[in-house]
Symmetry: C2
Subunit: 148 residues, 2 copies
């Protein structure tokens, strides 16, 4: 009953629900991120800075799967808002070190309620959540393997 074009149907793609789901979830962060004046990209960047306190743009990019073309303007914006400091490494002037400021530290408290609120917004069971999480990391992992 299927013709040769079936595999080109949108409903037969894995990438499409991934793409759509990602966008829809990011969109749903907005109401929770607006009050603390962060975009989604700025939020995940702050998440890493909150954990590391100090990190290079390179390391940040590796963790977030983002390059300097994306990160440079994001980090300049975060510096402008006072949440991070940008300074060259003394060891190697090529490296830009991102440091968490006091204001950035304070913002962490305000962000603390966001994961819980978002969790409620994704209507799947804890087991399904875990399965989804693991499969996504499996795919991501398989990508990192075949990078020369």
């Amino acid at each position: 009953m299927g013709d040769k074009y079936d595999r080109l149907k949108i409903c037969n793609q894995l990438c499409f629900p991934l793409y759509a789901c990602s966008k829809e979830i990011v969109k749903r962060y907005k109401p929770y991120l607006d009050p603390i004046d962060l975009t989604y990209t700025q939020y995940i960047t702050m998440m890493v800075v909150w954990e590391e306190k100090e990190i290079t743009v390179k390391a940040l990019g590796d963790k977030l799967f983002l390059d300097s073309g994306t990160l440079t303007p994001v980090l300049k914006k975060l510096e402008q808002k006072g949440y991070v400091k940008r300074s060259r490494s003394k060891d190697d002037e090529r490296n830009l070190i991102i440091t968490l400021t006091k204001e950035g530290e304070d913002l962490r408290e305000e962000a603390l309620s966001i994961p819980g609120k978002m969790g409620k917004c994704v209507n799947i069971s804890p087991e399904e959540n875990k399965t989804l999480y693991e499969l996504l990391y499996k795919v991501l992992g398989s990508f990192e393997e075949d990078e020369d």
Copy 2:
């Protein structure tokens, strides 16, 4: 061993691997889409047009989870390349009808090999693929429910 900030860790988010995975897969389409001069957004748009032959921008947006702000320039580009025609509906002048052209039809043949090539690039088993697919649509479905 965990502190109150654990839930703000990037590794404890479901959204992050979703966001990263989506971007990485889209990036991996590029080598296959470049030869037929389509971007990923143009490709998924063409997928729907190939299936429907004729569809309004509204319906296209509902299927792709994209609004007119994104679709208008994409469709103008596809028209410019000769793959679709844009014309107002006679029934209701508010509706813009997207129609597949002969060139667009021909492009379908060239795109036929892409899903197979991409499939090989995602290193998970068919069962895992199915599970992932279903979970993603479950999340997407739960989003559509709570839209007023």
